[in-house]
Structure formats: C-alpha cells, structure tokens
C-alpha cells in the first residue's frame, strides 16, 4: 500500500494558457539602443533615461551571483524580449467595457475577474499585464484623500518629483546584478504614495501576470508612506505554462517616514516547471524596505509556492529609532523547484526590533533554503531580534537548508535564532485517520498548523487562497 506520504503530486498547472493578444514587442536582446527604445516608447524624461543607462553600464561590469543554493542554466540576456506591450485597441480605457475582452477572459480564468474585483469591496486592483498597466480601479476614490495609486509610468509623467526623490533610494542601481538589470530595463509597475496622516481605507492590490512567451518581466514597485500614513499592499502572481525558462527580476522599494507603516503581502504561484524540472519561472527579485522615520514599521508576508528558481530576500533597513521590521514567510517547493529565500534585518537605529518567522516545506526532489541576515550595527542600542525558521521535509529526495547570518556589534542587543526540522509523522497521520479524517485532509491540516503563524498575518482573502494553494500544490505528494 502506498502510504499517503508517498504519493506524489501530479497536479497540472491550473493557469497554463496563453492569451492571444497582439503585442507590440521589441526584438530580443539588450543594448543601449534597447534601453533608449524602451524609454522613448514610454515617453520618459531625460533623467530617467540617464538613470537607466547608468544602471546598464554598471550592470555590464557585474557578474551573476553564484552564492545561492540553487543550480540552473543561466539565462541568455540577449534572447530576452525587454519590452512587450499589449497593443491598445483604443488609446485609453475609460471603463472595463473598453478593455480587450481577451484580456478580461484571462483574468476570469485566473479567478480574479474585473467584475468580481469590483464587487470585492475595498480592493482596488492595478493590473500589470506584460509590463504595461492596463487599468486602474478605485483610483479616483483614493485620489480624493490624496492617495496616489497608479502605474509607475504614469507616476513618472504625473508626479516626477516624487519618483525622482524615491526611485533607487532604497535599492540603488548598483545594489546587485538583477537590481542593476531591472534599473536599466524596467518597464512598469505600481506606484503608491500615501500622504501625511492618511490611512489607506482599503487594501491595494496588483496581480502580475507574465504572458508573452520569452518576455522577461521587470517590474518596479515603489511605495511611500509619509508621516503617520499606513497602507496594506497585496501582490498576487500566476503565470501561464511555458517550456522556456522565463526571467523575472523585479525590484520593490518601500519607504516609511515617522510613525508610518507598510504591510506588503505576496502570494507567488508562478509556473514552477513540470515534474522533471522543464520550464518554469526564474524569480530573482530584490525587495527592500527602508524604515526611515521614527516608530515606523515595515512588514513583509510572503507565500512562495511557484517558480522554478526563487532568489528573494525581502529586507528591512531599520534606520529610524524604534522602527520595526517583520518577515513572515511560507515557502513551499515540490518536484524540481529550488528556493533560496529569506530576509535581511539591518538594525541601525536605537531600539529597533525585528521578527522573522520562516516556514519551509520541501517535497519531491526540491531544495528549499532559508538564508537570512540579522545585523546589529554599533549604534543600534537596545536592538532586538527574534528569528524562527522551521523546515518540514516530505519524502526522501528533497532537502531543507538553513543559513542564518548573525552579526552583532552592540552589546545591548539581544538576538535569538531558532531552527528546527521535522516531518509529518506516521503517528500523527494515524491519529487523524483513526478519528475518521482522511489522510489528505489530515496533511492539509498539519501543514496549515505548521504555517499558522504566517497565514494569520495575511489579509483575509489571501489567507484563504494561500491555504488552498498549499493543499493544491502538495496534492498527492504527501500522504
């Protein structure tokens, strides 16, 4: 009898379809000309082009990092399409009716149809469809209280002073190989600005979707919360099934001033490749938040279930006194997936606090690594960190690794790190089964219990989605 712990996932990727929309693409390849073309297409000001070119020239001097615990065929950067925009049937959409019906159907298949989203009270969605922002809902309502929520390209046109001030202030273009690449070729993304004293009345949300075959997607997200402002931002991702690996190198920058807070939640479910590791997304993302002001707070919550390779370290720079950084993560890998993910908490200011809760689940032939840095600088009087990194292994061919770096240069700091590794025990399963609960359900319950500390940080709809996603991903693999 094959015990439930032994049957392995054969779940087909549910969202694997290609929307047939004529797109306007640049030829593959990267050069200064490509960058000038992207910039010109988007009608960008001179300073932004200069920024891109500086980043590009710097990128040329850099080498791809190899320290992560992943192996993959390095992408050929000359084969990637750096710009692809859905061809507008009309210049601008005023309402949903004008949007390409093909596109709407795509979202419907994804389970996030526009209509439903409209009905989902309190969620405004900025849809990035292959690099260009198509439509933005609730914009006007938010605008009334001074919140800017739009695509980055629009922000460049409408609010250049804000973009100029904050773009690259948290992740400089020279930061790392993929951040430099992104700074050179980013096409679009979201821009959020919450003015002084405003609490955003609804969760802001973006669904990213990589659609055009061979188009790398290079989003750039910038969220700024001024003094006393607060916002919760959701990012959800699904992508259609392709055989060639696709590169995704996004940069997300968050800035909080005095007493401000940003909560950033992600559910990532991109195509992970098939059972033999063919295809799948390369997810090389730089996400970083700067707690610039006193008493400010940045919280990252992520549920990572997709992508062939994940290389992602949402981080917090705790500069302001009493500022708080949080990182809650569930990373699930199955089949041949490889994930090297974690966080960095850089304590610079006095009395800064950080919490790291990371849950890794590996199944199949996958490899799942937590890599984190907690750094307490000499002036970070009274800094406090607590980290907990738990791993669960399902099956005998997967691996779970923990690489925490702890650097403490202040004697009043208190830093604690704990990590454990465990499996779903036959005894636990037996207990459930003798109570009449089928093995599949039992596993789902055990996994959800294991991830509870993270799921409860997610906004309601996401928590439901994430729970479903985990069971879906592990279907048959456990048991």
């Amino acid at each position: 009898m094959s015990s439930p712990l032994e049957q392995v996932t054969s779940q087909e990727y549910k969202y694997g379809f290609v929307t047939d929309i004529e797109s306007e693409s640049a030829p593959p390849g990267l050069s200064e000309a490509t960058i000038r073309m992207i910039s010109a297409k988007k009608g960008e000001p001179e300073w932004l082009l200069e920024y891109r070119l500086k980043a590009y020239r710097h990128w040329l001097t850099m080498v791809e990092p190899e320290w992560a615990h992943v192996t993959y065929q390095k992408p050929d950067f000359q084969k990637i399409v750096y710009y692809s925009a859905p061809k507008p049937k009309e210049a601008k959409y005023q309402s949903l009716d004008e949007v390409d019906p093909e596109l709407l159907r795509t979202f419907e298949k994804l389970g996030v149809p526009m209509d439903e989203r409209k009905a989902l009270a309190g969620v405004a969605v900025d849809v990035v469809f292959d690099s260009v922002s198509v439509t933005t809902t609730y914009k006007e309502r938010l605008g009334e209280i001074g919140i800017i929520f739009c695509s980055l390209s629009e922000a460049v046109r409408e609010h250049p002073e804000l973009v100029k001030k904050y773009l690259g202030s948290v992740v400089p273009f020279a930061d790392n190989f993929y951040a430099a690449l992104n700074s050179a070729v980013f096409t679009d993304g979201s821009f959020v600005f919450i003015p002084k004293g405003v609490t955003c009345p609804m969760d802001l949300s973006t669904y990213f979707r990589i659609n055009n075959k061979e188009s790398g997607q290079f989003e750039r997200t910038l969220i700024v919360a001024e003094e006393g402002a607060s916002v919760s931002y959701l990012e959800g991702c699904t992508a259609p099934q392709f055989d060639t690996n696709q590169l995704h190198a996004a940069v997300v920058e968050l800035v909080t001033l005095d007493d401000a807070s940003i909560k950033y939640s992600t559910v990532q479910n991109w195509y992970a490749g098939d059972k033999d590791g063919k295809g799948g997304i390369f997810n090389f993302v730089t996400k970083r938040g700067l707690c610039k002001g006193r008493n400010s707070k940045i919280s990252w919550t992520q549920v990572e279930t997709g992508s062939a390779i994940t290389w992602k370290y949402p981080s917090c720079i705790l500069l302001g006194e009493n500022s708080i950084g949080e990182f809650y993560s569930v990373a699930l890998t199955n089949h041949k997936q490889q994930a090297d993910t974690g966080t960095k908490m850089i304590h610079i200011g006095r009395n800064t606090k950080s919490t790291i809760i990371s849950k890794g689940i590996s199944a199949g032939d996958s490899s799942n690594s937590y890599r984190g840095l907690v750094k307490v600088q000499p002036k970070a009087e009274g800094a406090r960190n607590f980290s907990q990194c738990d791993s669960m292994l399902i099956g005998q061919k997967c691996s779970a690794n923990t690489f925490p770096y702890i650097e403490v240069q202040n004697m009043s700091a208190k830093v604690e790190h704990e990590a454990t590794t465990s499996k779903i025990g036959e005894e636990q399963l037996f207990y459930f089964q003798q109570r009449g609960i089928p093995a599949e359900d039992a596993i789902s319950m055990i996994i959800n219990g294991f991830c509870k500390d993270v799921f409860r940080e997610l906004p309601m709809e996401f928590a439901v989605e994430a729970t479903k996603l985990l069971s879906l991903k592990l279907e048959g693999s456990v048991g």
Binding site: L393, K397, N401, T402, V408, M411, E416, A419, T420, S422
Partner: protein
Amino acid sequence: MASLTETSLLSDLLAEPRPSTWATLRQAAETSLQAQAFPTSREEDWKYTDLKALRDTSFRPGKLEDANISEYILPEARGTRLVFVNGHFAPHLSNTSALAPGVRMLTLACASEAAAGLGSLARPETSDPFANLNHARFTDGAYLFVPKNVRVEAPLHVLFVSQQKGSDATYSLPRVHVVLERGAQAQLVEEYLGQGHYFTNAVVEVHLHEGATLSHERVQRESKEAFHITSLAARVDRNARYVCRTLSLGARLSRQTPKVRMAEEGAELELNGLALLDQDQVADTHSLIDHTVPHCSSRQLHKTIVDGQSRGIFNGKIFVHPGAQQTDAQQQARSLLLSESARVDAKPELEIFADDVKCAHGAAIGQLDPEELFYLQSRGLNLKTARNLLTYGFAAELLAAIPVPSLRRQLRRAVMARTNASDLEALA
C-alpha cells in the same frame, strides 16, 4: 590575488626542504597548495576573519629549546605525557613510563605503523590551505594508539610549547594522530601554550573504531601575540562515542575547524567549545558535523564571551546526507557581549537531505540578564562582583564536565582570572 605560495609566510615556509617521509601525502598536499590562493574575507569561509596580520608576518622555523612546563604538568598524567617545543619532540620533558600494555604514545617519527593513516581523515585534497601546509611540511607530532578493549585510566597529555627566541617570529606545524581500536576507552588532553610571537598550524586526526570512547580536551592558551590554526578531522564508527571540548583562551587570532564524520550507525558525538576573548583577540570556529548514516546523534554547544575589542566567530554546519534517517542533531551557539566595541558573528547552518530526522539549532547573542544581576545584588553582592560571577557562570558550564580534576581546577582558575572572578575562588 597573490597565490598562496607567494605570500611571505608561505614562501618562507616552503623554502624549507620537504621532509622525505610520508612523500605521497606531502606531494598531494603540495599540489593542492599550488592551486590555492591565500584566503581573503571575500571567501565565504573567511568572511569574518581577517588574516592580513598573519599574511604580513614572516616566520622562521623554531628550534628545540628548554622550556619550563612545571605549571602545566598534570599529576594524573605524570607518566603519560608527550611534550613538543617549537614543533620538536622534547624527550627530557616527556614521560611515557606509565603506559598500559599495548598502548602506544610516541612521536610520529618513531611510529612506523602511523604512516598509512596519516592524512586519511584530514585529506590533502581539501580546500583548507592551512591543513595542506601542515601536510606538506610537518616534521613530527604525536601518535596515540589504544588497542582493542583496553581502557586507559590515566589521561594522555600532549603538550605543544612555543617560544620565540630573538626577534624573528617562529612557526611550528604540530600533528596529532589518534586511533582507538574496537571498544577502547581513553582520555586525551591536547594543549597549546607559549611565549612571544609565533604561529602554530596544527592538524589533528582522530579515528574511533566500533564501540570506542574518547574524551578529548583541547586547550588553546597560546600567548596573546600568537596565531593559532588547527584543523581537526575525526571519524566516529559504529556505536562509538566522541566527546570533544575546545577551550580557546589565548592567541591574537585563532581558528578551529573541527570536522567530525558520523561514519557508522549508532555513533554519538558531543562537540563543545568555549572562547573567552578580550583586548583585540579574534577566535573563529568553523565546525562541520557530517551525518552520513542513519541513527547517529550529535550535540553541539558553543559559547563565546567577548570583551574589549575582541571578536568571536562561529560557523557551525550540520549536514545530514540522503538516507541518514533517524538522525538526531542539536546545536546551540550562545554568545555574551561584555563591551561596546566587541563583536560576534554567528552562522549556524543546517543542510538536510533526509526527511525523518530531528534537527534543531539555536543561536542567542546578548548581554548579562539585568534580572539576574538584580537578584544577586539583592543578595548583597555589588554590581561588579555580580557581573563577574554571572560571566564566570556562563563559562563554567563547559568547564564542569572536564573529567581530569587537575586540568579542571587549572582552567577554572584561568577563567576566573580572566573574568575577574578570583575573589570567588572558594566556589571552585
């Protein structure tokens, strides 16, 4: 980047003629050395440890000299002691008159049977340049052998003394090779001390056969100007038990790289360490516990106390190979920061390729608990005494388990002196 052999340290060292014994080992090590660059902080393994001072010093080989070791003689090991001065065997200071029948404790140069085993655990093809340097140029060392089912009561004491003579810094390449046959039991004290400016670069190999038990105390109390690097490679066979404690008190820069292979089922390991640092000392521990087979258990506790501008580094990896089910591995790293400018870097790592295992690690870095200080003060101790007592207590946990009474007393006194807790001597 300068190649390893181009740096002054190594070019001087390698200019020495290569000893003719153990030629295969030396040849392999030299081949590895030629391909290696001098480690820099860009390499993950040396990220936190700056070797500039070592690289910029040139060393001359030390000569056999007389040394006063009376302070360090262990009464329990009066007739089971080997002493080396500046890397050379010192027969007049050694005494092996009390060895049990069949037990061998002698120099490598005299132990012809050791030839085959040398370098079999600490392999010359590894990426550790300092171990390779030792392989390539060592001249002598200690060989310890305990035959089947023999239990050695007296602790075996191996003492490496270094002395700088004149203005030139000296180096030595000590070597210890330990073999315990099936069911053998022993205690070993491996100790390093000295005066002045010098470099000790040792390789230690320990092989415990089925059911053997070794309790291994490793005491590093080199002079405060010394450099000390030791590579330890151990192999623990079926149902054997290895208890290893490393105490790092001396040296301006020290590095310990214990690598223990749990080679057969039922092997047990306890790998503990204490680094007590002040001024500008740097102590680095890079350990690897390698679980290659099922049903082994390992416990690791590493403690660091940093004062002054000192720096403690701990990088401990637990590796569980595919198929090594039922592994039970626990690792704890605790650090105590006593001064504003001291620094601790910790990196406990788990790499796990088997699903049915119990593995956990924890790392905690902090200062003395204000509540504990308050408690002691409420009992009438002044703040200074309370601090010293708690600091001593933090270290004492590891000293308490040392099985050789005279050594335990010696080290307690040394730790008390360092933690300014001498007025608490009555407690010892």
